[in-house]
Symmetry: C2
């Protein structure tokens, strides 16, 4: 490797594969701390806000209040973070410390497909940002106002999240699973940061499935009578 030549062509390009060509790439301005803390911090503020607000309505159970927190958190993550990525092909050229571009420059260290503009990742993030995200916010409203479609909606969204989850990891696996700059980024971001989106949607699918089936069982019995 001609060290100096390579670094002229890819100035401080920290991604794997190392020969990923990113013309106009501008490195991260913010530290990992400055990227992760605002996300966790604003998420905690959001969850506390939704929890307290939903507590003002006596009819909403604690489980439903927790679900409202989840849907608000995951919905805004989908719309703001993932929606930005899906519709910003040039984020890695951003030459100011714009937070959303920084997030994806940093996350790309765990999955360089985001930098390479891999079609699968763009489509999965596009569906998630443009369709699943707004549907999550609708779920917050549907739970709060006890809409009859609330369970069908939550089932649908959770299944969409699970489909995206499986497709995201399976495509990387089939392509050799070599898109992380180090095992640290692989486990912290690629595995760790995505991990809530497997067990939580599964639990919600099971819950909605049971509620829907129980209601239709009642409905069937009434019709037979």
């Amino acid at each position: 490797m001609g060290g100096s030549e390579a670094s002229i062509e890819h100035p401080q390009q920290p991604y794997v594969p190392r020969d990923l060509h990113l013309p106009g790439y501008v490195p991260c301005f913010l530290s990992q701390f400055d990227i992760v803390v605002p996300y966790f911090g604003s998420s905690i503020v959001l969850v506390v806000f939704i929890w307290l607000l939903s507590g003002r309505y006596a009819k909403i159970t604690k489980t439903d209040r927790l679900l409202m927190c989840w849907w608000a958190f995951t919905g805004l993550t989908h719309i703001i973070l993932e929606g930005y990525f899906a519709f910003s092909p040039d984020f890695y050229k951003e030459n100011t410390p714009f937070y959303l571009a920084e997030v994806w420059k940093e996350y790309g260290k765990a999955d360089s497909r985001y930098l390479a503009r891999d079609a699968t990742v763009v489509v999965l993030e596009g569906i998630t940002g443009a369709l699943v995200g707004p549907a999550c916010l609708l779920a917050v409203y549907a739970i709060a106002s006890r809409k009859a479609y609330s369970y069908a909606l939550q089932l649908s969204i959770s299944l969409g999240q699970l489909y995206g989850f499986v497709a995201y990891f399976m495509t990387a696996y089939l392509e050799g699973d070599n898109f992380a700059a180090s095992p640290y980024y692989y486990w912290a971001y690629y595995v760790g940061a995505n991990s809530p989106w497997l067990p939580i949607p599964i639990l919600i699918v099971i819950r909605c499935w049971k509620k829907i089936s129980a209601a239709l069982q009642v409905d069937k019995k009434m019709k037979i009578k």
Copy 2:
């Protein structure tokens, strides 16, 4: 293009991009007619069989009987055709006129990603063949035996089909939409053969959504009383 040299390297490789490297490729043995007619023929026999069989149960409505036909047809298509593709990376080397390999050698003329073993296509077909397909057959049973989970199941499967449909076409679009050997194959196979899997799942999603919401509305009113 060095015509004779190219044909030695890719013997009668009929796919686009023309330089797609397929070592060991064996051309189609069967004609388009011999591939399409058995599929249509066996599908019609299946649909007539399910229609007549379901007619023996007086309680099943005509809509539900039609849905049983659809789920049997789409389920077996997913499991047999798409399941075969997902787990047969070497189908294009098949040197006998094995029907399932012929189907994909032929369909590849409309979408060469199937020959190139594109990870997105393999994952989408894998999910469809291994998960969605068996769930479709469960739906046939669930409708016939009037299970309370029938609507949740049909909603889930149809959403999965729609997710796959959108991801399939969007990834091709983002990658330049240039995988068909001719406009004929593009429109007949890529667009035409896939077209039922957009309107039918949408109609089923709407129907299930309404049934589920109505049942939960009834359930809610009963609890209030």
